[in-house]
């Protein structure tokens, strides 16, 4: 139970930083997601009782906003922009190429080893460079399916080297 203790200690720190203010629910959830890469269910319940609001309310907010995830995401998150500018510049081709490369079937977003999660986002605001994708925090512009696959290869190479 040691690890659980550490887990809740982090949550307590985040709650304290936000002075147990229920209006700060969104920043609190953001900080927790930053820490764990998703929102674990037991933590949502813990937050609800700490802030003295119902678990349904916390769950409601957590599921309302696209940024929050209730399932663990991959180590590397690839966000393919499917905003208008990227869409008309054929971003769909990028998604197909990446899913194909990582062996993801329709409806699947994360690889089995949880190394990659592929998501689409509505707009990254780098429309001048459409089509665009974001790998972790790096924006890559003027993409083609070939270039996108190469980016994945680079990461796979780095991951392989670490092992």
């Amino acid at each position: 139970m040691e690890s659980n203790y550490v887990k809740f200690e982090t949550v307590c720190r985040i709650l304290e930083e936000n002075s147990f203010d229920k209006s700060k629910l969104i920043p609190i959830l953001q900080a927790i997601q930053e820490e764990y890469r998703y929102l674990p269910e037991e933590i949502l319940a813990f937050i609800a009782s700490s802030l003295n609001i119902s678990p349904a309310k916390v769950y409601g907010v957590a599921t309302f906003f696209a940024h929050f995830a209730l399932q663990l995401k991959g180590k590397h998150i690839v966000k393919v922009c499917d905003g208008t500018a990227c869409h008309v510049k054929k971003s769909a081709g990028l998604i197909d190429a990446l899913k194909n490369k990582l062996g993801l079937k329709a409806g699947e977003h994360s690889t089995k080893d949880n190394l990659f999660t592929i998501e689409t986002v509505s707009c990254l605001g780098a429309c001048g460079l459409a089509p665009v994708l974001l790998i972790d925090d790096d924006v890559h512009g003027q993409m083609t399916p070939d270039k996108a696959v190469k980016l994945i290869d680079v990461i796979l190479g780095q991951e392989g080297a670490k092992e």
């Binding site: 309302f64 929050f68 208008t84 869409h87 510049k89 986002v121 605001g125 780098a126 429309c127 459409a130």
Partner: protein, 623 residues
């Protein structure tokens, strides 16, 4: 108390020692293309070459100043590098070019032709010459891309916070509201409501506490004007907020920024902190009785939060669902207190009005829509990027003069390729060739079924299917519908299914009147702007491209060749049998022997277009 004059003097004095200034664009677009690496390389290479270069303005620093700026707008040609006072603009700069730039241009004032923007054989030296810049009218964006957005003193040196000081000390709240109303400034977020009137509505409320919120939740796909302003000149937004706070009687404010805009969040947070440290924010600003505190709040990814009441709900820590109006936020907003909510660009425009007066502002633009508007110009045009033009400019001016024309799939300019422009995002509509000379202002656009919206202009060429565009926006609004109103929640879903059927060739003629009927019902039966405007892309494409809908329905054909269910890839007689496509095809759908014409197995083909793109002989077509 902060003394603006002494800051201006000290920045000027230290600036005298600076002989040259090299500005690297550090907007999201250029950073994606590696501009920060170029910046690092400038610092190290200058040291190696013995060039006196600094990254900070200080009295003892004499020589060249290396600085970063916000978005310079010419995104497609990034990373951008400006050299002042020479007025040189280099495009697509890489780390490999740094040494040459320092040796030739910084040391010896030589121009490196190969790094200049060139088109059709003409080489353009800098912003003064490049048509993309020359044909704009940049006032809100003037400092974006010049000053260092992370240095509050530079903003002050360029005349910053003078309008805020004037508003706090010399002007009464009503005076400010009247002046902004007289200037004719209308909300830049889409609605076009007169800003002065909005402020006055909050001002007349008698409440112990009032709030002001800057709406930087720019969720409209294909638009990045607010991002650029927040990244490039964050202090102009803060200054606008201080003026708005004084005008409405608010003492607390929020800047709500989309979480997807990581750099804008970071810059805005730093700007707020610097403003607090310098005493521009806090108690008794500029020695007046006005106090104002400000904090930055990150959104969590919901388009509907751009709607005022939904935005307020999400600041309160609730699901971002809109509420019926009235009561308007001006009467009862955040924590049920009178609240003003303004768009980023609107706020950044306000200091200009206070500084130069309502008349000067009115002299730009049209009578009912004065001033300038920034547009994010994207899609199939030669030069994409961020532009600013007077309201009332024409599409022809923007698409052909500023941006250099419409491009085809291979990025070659071809005037005849123009098909439509989508303006105003998922709430807006499309404009066609017939609208190329229409005045782009709030009222004219409304008349033709479109809207200025936040200012996204997506140019489409003949390869874009308009039914598909309508479907794209419907998919977006259906995803983003918060679910509160039945007609919006279920209506967008049903409209999307209908559009799907059309693009897959499964619909009959009765679908068009049904689609129109439902579209109008969703318009009437939804509470907020998202639902009320959700059907606009459908109605406007139906209005201007009805034939294209019928081609899908009656002829089971997509005239633009985009709807995948209705097209097939065909290998023509141009095929020489090189086998490249057989190897590239991810599903092994192409059979062929070397030297003989290949064939595609339609059953296996997933229509990924890899074969067409890899064919060097243009032998594969869509049909």
């Amino acid at each position: 108390m902060i003394d603006l004059d002494s800051i201006v003097q000290s920045v000027k004095k230290t600036g005298e020692n600076i002989t040259k200034r090299v500005i690297i664009c550090a907007g999201t677009g250029c950073v994606a293309n590696g501009s920060l690496k170029v910046f690092e390389s400038l610092i190290t290479t200058a040291k190696e070459l013995g060039i006196k270069a600094y990254i900070e303005l200080k009295e003892e620093n004499k020589g060249t100043l290396l600085s970063k700026s916000g978005c310079q707008g010419f995104c497609q040609n990034g990373p951008l590098l400006n050299i002042l006072p020479n007025g040189i603009l280099y495009t697509k700069v890489t780390v490999g070019d740094v040494k040459e730039i320092l040796e030739k241009s910084v040391k010896n004032n030589e121009l490196i032709d190969r790094l200049c923007y060139s088109y059709n054989g003409t080489i353009y030296k800098g912003q003064d010459e490049i048509p993309f810049y020359k044909k704009q009218h940049r006032i809100v964006l003037k400092q974006c891309g010049v000053i260092d957005p992370e240095n509050i003193k530079e903003y002050i040196a360029e005349g910053g916070y003078r309008a805020a000081k004037k508003a706090c000390i010399e002007m009464k709240d009503k005076e400010i509201c009247d002046m902004v109303l007289l200037s004719g400034l209308r909300g830049r977020g889409g609605g076009g409501f007169p800003t002065g009137r909005k402020w006055d509505l909050t001002r007349i409320q008698t409440a112990s506490k009032k709030y002001i919120i800057c709406n930087g939740d720019e969720g409209d796909p294909g638009a990045f004007m607010d991002r650029s302003v927040m990244e490039g000149n964050p202090h102009s937004v803060i200054e606008g907020l201080i003026i708005a706070a004084k005008a409405t009687g608010a003492d607390e404010g929020y800047i709500y920024v989309r979480t997807e805009y990581a750099l804008a969040v970071e810059r805005m947070k730093k700007a707020v902190k610097d403003a607090i440290d310098l005493g521009v924010l806090g108690n008794n600003i500029f020695g007046s009785s006005q106090s104002f505190t400000l904090q930055v709040m990150e959104g969590a990814g919901a388009f509907v939060c751009g709607e005022e009441t939904a935005l307020v709900a999400s600041i309160e820590g609730k699901r971002g669902m809109p509420l019926p109006k009235p009561p308007f936020p001006a009467q009862s907003g955040l924590w049920k207190k009178p609240t003003t909510i303004n768009n980023v660009e609107t706020l950044a425009t306000v200091p200009l009005i206070i500084n130069y007066g309502a008349d000067v502002f009115r002299s730009i633009g049209t009578k009912s829509s004065p001033g300038t508007k920034t547009f994010a110009l994207t899609g199939h045009v030669l030069n994409t990027g961020l532009i600013e033009v007077p309201l009332g400019s024409t599409l022809r001016h923007i698409v052909f003069d500023i941006s250099g024309g419409v491009t085809d799939e291979k990025d070659n300019v071809k005037e005849s390729n123009f098909k439509a422009v989508q303006i105003g995002g998922p709430s807006g509509g499309c404009l066609t060739e017939a609208h190329l000379d229409l005045s782009l202002d709030f009222d004219s656009l409304k008349k033709v079924g479109a809207m200025v919206g936040s200012g996204g202009l997506v140019v489409m060429n003949k390869s874009n299917c308009m039914v598909n565009v309508a479907k794209f926006f419907m998919q977006f609004t259906q995803n983003e519908s918060c679910g509160k109103c039945v007609l919006c929640r279920e209506g967008t879903r049903q409209m999307l299914l209908m559009l799907n059927d059309i693009t897959e060739g499964k619909a009959d003629e009765n679908i068009i009147p049904l689609l129109e009927k439902l579209a109008k019902a969703v318009q009437v039966g939804s509470l907020c702007g998202l639902g009320k405007t959700a059907a606009n892309p459908v109605l406007s494409t139906l209005k201007y491209f009805r034939d294209e809908y019928y081609a899908h329905i009656k002829e089971i054909r997509c005239p633009a060749g985009e709807c995948e269910s209705l097209i097939n890839y065909i290998i023509t007689d141009k095929c020489i049998g090189c086998t490249v496509c057989t190897m590239k095809c991810p599903v092994k759908a192409i059979n062929g022997v070397r030297g003989k014409k290949h064939a595609i197995d339609i059953e296996k083909c997933v229509k990924c277009s890899v074969c067409m793109n890899s064919c060097k002989f243009n032998a594969i077509i869509r049909g």
